[in-house]
């Protein structure tokens, strides 16, 4: 029997059905007697609602709003915080806030009704930017100071002493903008009823999150709702919590109407009225000695959370924990502040808060290196953290850090040092480099204390079925997990099934997020498979296990001290550019990367993740500009908000260093987010060198480059 070895090349299990157009995404579902829904949303960022005027609703058409939430229900979506309302009630806090849902049979009639619904407002002055929030523009949105969440961590000697001894202090502010996910499948969900239970089909990362989040609207328990994940056309964090915002109103509507109802966003709705990556502003003050050595770094990090907290506190924590990048500085003080504004709530996006601060620290270090005449790669490599090194949360790096090897490989592949030397600053050609990491899974002991993930294997004859709540959204998890199970069981991958999760049939494995699926859920499946293999001859049976956290890694969630992550993925990227001196058009001519993801479960899948993550990161740096004016996003279509096409970036060269991770399945660590975390900084470094400019803000499309050149 040909068994599936972990290093075997396998065929991705979902590829053929997708390529043949047979995979069913939520918009492809049609149920008998199905109605459609569309949202009535706020058109102003901050106001009291003084009136809602609906056109006359034809027979069979409904307007569902806060008034339809039953008495024992609560108008809240329980994400991580519970502050996001299902329906705006009395006031609105951002443009696009859900006020109601129009439901009926004909989409054209719904569109007409939507266009002819009028909301009266008494408007306030919106706070849109981080600076607006700090200045309390229009009065505080939350509390007295607009601070939604904050934290700090410190390491080494007191900052006061460090700065006293410094020969110079270098301070700069680095900013990053909104980023829109643009998963090619827009958000969508479909609700119906089966045997007295609500059933929701959703394009979603986290089916169990949805049922927890929305059950309280009707005062029912999560088990009364079944979530079935449909083939998900990309997510990148945009379908982590956000599906709740569709499923909540649908659930309330279903409780009134009792017919199948489908809600699919069109692209402009998805772009204007969905969550985004948190814009950030990081102020670094770095204490330096005469030679340019770093004595200590102080950082204040602001994230724009939008109007509701949702998951922002957790995003901010990750931002702070990654704000010293891959380095071990003698002393650091890092403070994170999440502020409230009247913009669409910011939420999860691949990297989950880490990309913003990693970009900031990389760019800051480039600037210091250049000031003192050092090559950035050489300068940064002096501070590479090592195994046993102290992290910003006073924990330690547990694994071997292979950054020196990664740097030398990458330098050789890209001919970095020669090019860095040869292309003068401002010559029109530039090469840039960056280093980054990503802590795998939930912070600290969250996996054990909060998530308590379960996974189950079911043996029926010679076939084995994986039952987990984790989802395939394009990242290849269905293939990776089957491969882990088959390899551990010593059977063929074809004999392992893994259907899309249905929350009534599978245990809760925690969210599909945080680069935790392979590391955590994969590990539990591996443990289940080991036991199943031992008992293989017992006939049909199942094995279910809960995640067990490795002992001896303290973490205090109140003070944020200890081992924030038990394992990191590590990365380095080099980008080479040529700039057209007349148009300021930047042409990327080379992309090289090297990653440590433990041991790869499937090289072809990893290849695709590396390529895709890096291109998204380059889009973030180079072109994806999402502006918000007075509370309104200005980019509302894929022609306004331009993401990379096949012509924008060249073929990539990539490699992996093998560094098997002791607690991962077959040595694997998470990698889905890591590969997003650094190419942006390498690109900016290259552009800065090519043009002799200093960039402190991304994205930098050509028009912004022009401005930077004028200021230079």
């Amino acid at each position: 029997m040909p068994l599936t070895g972990i290093d075997d090349k396998v065929v991705r299990v979902d590829a053929e059905a997708k390529a043949r157009g047979e995979a069913r995404y939520v918009s492809d579902y049609v149920l008998p007697d199905m109605l459609y829904a569309c949202m009535v949303r706020s058109s102003v960022p901050r106001a009291r609602i003084t009136g809602i005027h609906l056109p006359e609703l034809p027979e069979g058409y409904y307007f569902i709003s806060a008034k339809d939430i039953p008495e024992n229900g609560r108008n809240e979506l329980w994400m991580i915080a519970k502050d996001w309302r299902c329906f705006a009630d009395g006031d609105v806090r951002y443009v696009g806030e859900t006020i109601g849902l129009l439901v009926g049979k004909d989409r054209n009639i719904l569109r007409y009704l939507q266009d002819n619904t009028r909301i009266d407002y008494e408007e306030g002055v919106p706070a849109v930017t981080i600076d607006d929030a700090i200045a309390l523009k229009g009065g505080p949105i939350v509390g007295e100071d607009n601070v939604m969440c904050s934290l700090f961590c410190e390491k080494g000697r007191p900052m006061k002493d460090v700065f006293n001894e410094a020969d110079s202090v270098f301070e700069e502010t680095i900013e990053t903008g909104f980023q829109e996910h643009v998963h090619l499948e827009t958000n969508g969900a479909l609700i119906t009823e089966e045997d007295g239970r609500y059933v929701i089909y959703a394009s979603a990362q986290c089916p169990f999150y949805i049922r927890k989040s929305v059950a309280g609207l009707l005062g029912i328990s999560p088990e009364d709702i079944i979530i079935r994940q449909t083939t998900t056309g990309g997510a990148f964090g945009g379908k982590e919590h956000f599906p709740d915002v569709l499923c909540g109103p649908l659930l309330v509507a279903e409780s009134v109407i009792h017919k199948p109802i489908k809600l699919i966003f069109d692209r402009s709705e998805d772009m204007l009225y969905s969550v985004k990556r948190h814009p950030s502003k990081t102020i670094f003050r770095t204490a330096l000695d005469k030679e340019g050595n770093i004595l200590g770094i102080e950082g204040t990090i602001y994230y724009n959370c939008g109007a509701y907290l949702s998951a922002s506190y957790v995003v901010l924590q990750r931002g702070v924990f990654h704000a010293n990048g891959v380095y071990d500085f003698p002393a650091t003080y890092l403070k994170g502040v999440g502020v409230a504004t009247n913009t669409f709530p910011s939420d999860a996006f691949r990297g989950f808060g880490a990309p913003q601060t990693l970009f900031a620290i990389e760019t800051h270090l480039d600037h210091i290196a250049r000031r003192f005449g050092f090559d950035p790669a050489e300068y940064k490599s002096r501070y590479f953290i090592k195994k046993g090194g102290e992290t910003v949360t006073n924990g330690h790096i547990i694994e071997e850090v292979k950054l020196p090897e990664m740097l030398s490989r990458l330098a050789e592949a890209s001919d970095y040092y020669r090019k860095a030397e040869e292309y003068g600053i401002g010559s029109g050609r530039g090469i840039g480099i960056s280093f980054y990491n990503h802590g795998g899974a939930f912070t600290g002991n969250g996996e054990q204390a909060i998530i308590k993930a379960h996974a189950r294997l079911v043996k029926e004859g010679k076939r084995v079925r994986i039952e987990v709540g984790s989802t395939e959204m394009g990242q290849g998890f269905q293939t990776a997990l089957r491969k882990i199970a088959a390899n551990t069981l010593g059977i063929e991958m074809e004999d392992v099934d893994y259907p899309n999760p249905d929350t009534s049939l599978v245990p809760d494995s925690g969210p599909t997020a945080a680069s935790r699926s392979t590391m955590i859920v994969g590990k539990i499946v591996e443990e289940c498979a080991k036991e199943m293999k031992e008992r293989w001859d017992e006939g049909d049976f199942s094995v279910e296990k809960e995640y067990v956290h490795p002992e001896g890694h303290p973490w205090d969630q109140d003070t944020f001290r200890g081992d924030a992550y038990l394992g990191y993925g590590w990365g380095a990227a080099v980008v080479e550019v040529e700039v057209d001196r007349i148009t300021n058009e930047v042409n990327t001519v080379g992309i090289w990367s090297c990653h440590d993801i433990g041991h790869a479960i499937d090289e072809l899948i990893v290849h695709g993740q590396v390529n895709g993550g890096i291109i998204q990161s380059l889009g973030y740096a180079a072109m994806e500009k999402m502006e918000n004016r007075n509370g309104h996003f200005r980019q509302e279509s894929m022609s306004d908000y331009v993401i990379p096409t096949s012509m924008d970036f060249p073929k990539q060269e990539w490699s992996l260093v093998d560094n098997p991770y002791q607690w991962g399945p077959q040595g694997a660590k998470g990698m889905g987010e890591l590969v997003f975390n650094g190419a942006d900084a390498a690109y900016v470094d290259a552009v800065e060198r090519a043009l002799g400019i200093t960039v402190t803000k991304i994205p930098i499309p050509p028009e912004d480059i022009e401005e930077a050149l004028e200021n230079a």
Binding site: A19, E185, M473, S646
Partner: protein, 159 residues
């Protein structure tokens, strides 16, 4: 004004009687249930809804059905079981071109049109041919390689 619009879809005669301004993508997806045709943007920008109309690659979301009178239309459903279609689908599968899959039927259509007119394209030609098809997941490299694989494997099929 409603009139009857006759055209062919995947070799079958279709008579549409309804608003001629209805988008072709809606007729294909809703009326004919050809849901392999995807809608990613609805404004001709992403290529997910790509189909072949009279031999040319077009985005069905910006074509009114009224403009299809007498046309010959091919969707992913019409090519996937042909020898050429299978060749591309299998190359995409084996070459790692597919992630979330939402852009992929449109990419397959773009590859089909390319290889039918240029049996041995360079990487640059492939990139140009799929430049109207947005993929948010893959970064395109493996799609390009898979199309090249289809060209190599298909050989005479594309001549």
């Amino acid at each position: 004004m409603h009139r009857q619009i006759e055209f062919r879809v995947n070799g079958n005669k279709v008579v549409y009687s309804g608003d001629p301004l209805t988008r072709l993508v809606d007729v294909l997806r809703d009326d004919l249930r050809l849901t392999g045709v995807k809608e990613g943007c609805g404004e001709g920008e992403c290529g997910a809804c790509s189909i072949i109309k009279d031999g040319r690659l077009v985005t069905s979301c910006i074509i009114p059905v009224g403009a299809c009178l007498g046309s010959d239309i091919l969707t992913i459903e019409g090519i996937r079981d042909t020898e050429k279609g299978r060749c591309i689908v299998e190359a995409f599968r084996d070459g790692g071109a597919v992630q979330c899959g939402f852009c992929i039927p449109g990419m397959v259509m773009a590859a089909y049109v390319l290889l039918s007119s240029n049996p041995a394209p360079t990487d640059e030609e492939i990139r140009v041919a799929i430049s109207g098809n947005i993929c948010r997941c893959t970064g395109y490299d493996l799609i390009v390689e898979s199309i090249r694989l289809a060209a190599e494997r298909g050989g005479a099929l594309w001549q």
